[in-house]
């Protein structure tokens, strides 16, 4: 009896220690997850805190009198006259109404600098399209100069240096009070291409460029990848050559992406003479990079199709191709799609190979086709982040948010597809 009770005692004592160990072990796991989540949170918090202002634009709304005398313009349809005319004058005149004390030419120039450089061309384009507006007064919304924008958004932020003179700051404060200067959602960001001036720079060109590039990548890597996976898994004989191919596909998946860029430069551009900076070449390069991922995940998906299903189909007399087309591929499709989408998300975020094939150029126009010069989202972010002007910093962060949104939606799509198409057997 005593023996048994002492044994129970030992077990009880050790029990405490065991539970303590288990608790500690669980704590490590929770700690690891906490670290991962915390770093993710810090990353997002930093990007959002820096970038949310990128989604705001600063505008100045003015009643502009399009007086033909101040502009030296009689006939807005005449191109020569238009090129000689002074379209800044009506803006300054209109601003002067708010500040009647401004008289000297130097002060007027300072006042005019509150408006971004594209203000004048906005008036020119308006008059070109509507010549009858000459000598009328129009309410127009102008983008504020980058410096004004920085002052309005970041006056209290020590990270930004304010490059407006005291006098200009006073004017801006007054205009803000009057509601002439205002901030609103930055539709410019989503409707234009790149620009030298942050207030006018948009990400649409990069989004369209990314889209075109991804289309090329998808059109090539998805069918080729799946065909290769099906052949290797279902038809290829088991021999040295297939082993060799398999090893090389796995190696290819680990090759640094910049190597693919070099390959694209050497083969597509130098050898085949394709143009630089175009989505077709970018898509081809990214397709090569994505192929191994798609092949490997598709093979895994095909492997996971239970052999009993193949036997069932063979048992009723399906030919090899019917087994593959009717049963194996439909059952493997969710896995194949998931792998492909993850591969595409990877390609969407790829920068290095595209730098080498010239998709890093400064491109203002939104690309209209596969052979137009274009850039892509991550490269646009890279360009903005390395730019010296302050306004681009917040644009880069805004761009990162746009890119992350695309990535998260692609991954969500992959999860949704997997859940949707998953079948039980």
């Amino acid at each position: 009896m005593t023996d048994q009770s002492s044994q129970a005692e030992i077990v009880r004592n050790s029990l405490k220690r065991r539970y303590r160990k288990e608790r500690r072990f669980r704590m490590y796991g929770i700690l690891a997850i906490f670290i991962a989540l915390a770093s993710l949170f810090i990353l997002f918090a930093d990007i959002i805190s820096k970038g949310h202002t990128g989604f705001l634009k600063t505008t100045i709304t003015l009643d502009v009198t399009l007086d033909s005398e101040t502009m030296y313009l009689d006939d807005p349809t005449d191109e020569d006259q238009r090129s000689m005319a002074d379209f800044v004058a009506p803006i300054i005149a209109s601003l002067q109404e708010h500040f009647p004390e401004v008289e000297s030419a130097a002060e007027k120039r300072e006042l005019g600098r509150l408006i971004g450089t594209y203000g004048a061309s906005k008036i020119r384009d308006l008059l070109k399209d509507n010549p009858d507006m000459l000598n009328t007064t129009q309410t127009m919304e102008f983008l504020a100069h980058d410096r004004v924008s920085t002052y309005v958004k970041h006056a209290d932020n020590p990270r930004y240096s304010i490059k407006l003179s005291e006098q200009q700051q006073g004017w801006v404060d007054q205009l803000l009070e009057k509601g002439v200067i205002d901030t609103s959602f930055n539709d410019v960001l989503f409707s234009r291409g790149d620009s030298r001036e942050p207030a006018n720079a948009g990400i649409l060109g990069a989004i369209v460029g990314s889209l075109l590039t991804m289309l090329v990548t998808l059109a090539i890597s998805f069918p080729v990848g799946i065909a290769a996976a099906v052949y290797l898994e279902e038809f290829a004989p088991q021999n040295r050559i297939t082993d060799f191919i398999e090893v090389n596909i796995n190696n290819l998946a680990a090759v640094p992406s910049i190597i693919f860029g070099l390959l694209g430069l050497a083969v597509f551009i130098s050898l085949f003479g394709m143009p630089r900076s175009v989505p077709v070449v970018g898509g081809l390069v990214l397709a090569l990079m994505t192929l191994p991922t798609i092949i490997i995940s598709s093979r895994a998906a095909i492997k996971s199709v239970p052999p009993s299903i193949r036997e069932a189909a063979e048992g009723v007399g399906a030919s090899k191709m019917q087994v593959v087309l009717h049963h194996v591929i439909p059952l493997a499709m969710p896995g194949m799609l998931t792998g492909s989408i993850i591969g595409m998300a990877q390609a969407l975020g790829e920068t290095a190979p595209l730098l080498l094939i010239g998709m890093v150029a400064f491109i203002v126009d939104v690309p209209g086709g596969f052979f137009d010069s274009a850039t892509v989202l991550p490269v646009q972010i890279y360009l903005w982040a390395s730019s010296s002007e302050q306004g681009f910093v917040e644009l880069a962060s805004a761009g990162i948010m746009v890119l992350l949104t695309f990535m998260i939606s692609m991954n969500a799509l992959a999860i949704w597809l997997r859940k949707r198409l998953e079948r039980r057997w």
Binding site: P307, S308, A312, A313, E314, V316, G317
Partner: protein, 298 residues
């Protein structure tokens, strides 16, 4: 799929053939019983057989899984293959519709004739063969499609029905023959994998008979089923024996006794004895058969 996996997926593999005998005392006894190669006691032959199999040998690489077996399978008979694990009965069954073809290292020697046509002739089309010789597997393996599509799959790929109504008839008839019509007629569009194990196996039988085969091979069709479902499938086998030749591999001697006309006893790749079922179970001619059916090993 690697070679090893392929083999493992086929029942009666090389691994099974080298499973050591469980009881060392019995092993000594069994070793003393002499099995003469190619010599089968009982009645292995029949007049005008459906299958005429002569000197069949199957190799997995270097291993000889089937050793010189000769057997006739008569028309419209139910013959069951029994024997301990790894005796080659499943391997032999799979030769009859060339299911072993997909295993690269598997080689088959000898003469296998179905109605005087060589099954393994180089010009023989395996698709046509499998349309004539259907198969039901150990584990119910319906396609993850609707019940209707499962049954209709075979007729569709062989082009047996030109019109939708023809196909509907085939599906209904097959399900009726498999005794599943009453349970399934209201949910033909339901996914087949949602049915119970016994229903799934009967669906697999319906799928096999939908292409109107002449022979149905069954590889332990009831081993994954409960006794009630088993009884239902056995009834079905009895009904089907009127119109089909049925070859059934089973681990259950009671089942063999209940459903089959003749029984063949396999041992380590040899076909030891073939005879009318009641003879095999009441007065076996070979000593090994007797040991097996009296439960001394197996």
């Amino acid at each position: 799929m690697s070679v090893n996996e392929t083999i493992a997926s086929a029942v009666g593999t090389q691994e099974e053939t080298i499973i050591p005998v469980k009881d060392p005392i019995e092993e000594g006894k069994r070793e003393s019983i002499h099995v003469e190669e190619g010599k089968t006691v009982g009645k292995p032959f029949a007049d005008d057989p459906k299958f005429k199999l002569r000197n069949v040998e199957v190799f997995y690489g270097q291993d000889r899984a089937i050793k010189d077996i000769s057997l006739d399978i008569a028309r419209n008979e139910v013959i069951s293959f029994i024997g301990p694990s790894g005796c080659g009965k499943s391997t032999f069954l799979r030769c009859l519709n060339r299911m072993n073809d997909s295993i690269d290292i598997c080689r088959i020697k000898g003469q296998l004739m179905l109605d005087d046509e060589d099954i393994y002739h180089s010009k023989k089309d395996v698709v046509e063969l499998r349309a004539r010789v259907g198969m039901v597997f150990q584990k119910p393996n319906p396609f993850p499609k609707s019940i209707y599509d499962n049954v209709a799959y075979g007729p569709r790929i062989h082009g047996l029905a030109n019109r939708k109504s023809d196909l509907d008839d085939i599906v209904e008839n097959s399900l009726r023959k498999a005794g599943l019509w009453d349970e399934a007629k209201d949910r033909l569009d339901a996914i087949a994998t949602g049915m119970s194990g016994g229903q799934q196996q009967r669906l697999c039988i319906a799928r096999a008979i939908a292409v109107s085969p002449e022979v149905i091979l069954m590889d332990e069709p009831c081993s994954a089923l409960d006794p009630i479902a088993t009884a239902r499938v056995e009834e079905l086998i009895a009904e089907m024996s009127e119109s089909y030749t049925i070859v059934i591999v089973t681990h259950s001697m009671q089942q063999a006794a209940r459903v089959s006309h003749r029984t063949a006893y396999f041992h380590l790749g040899h076909l030891v004895e073939v005879n009318e079922t009641n003879k095999v179970f009441t007065s076996p001619e070979h000593e090994l058969t007797e040991s097996y059916i009296t439960g001394r090993f197996g």
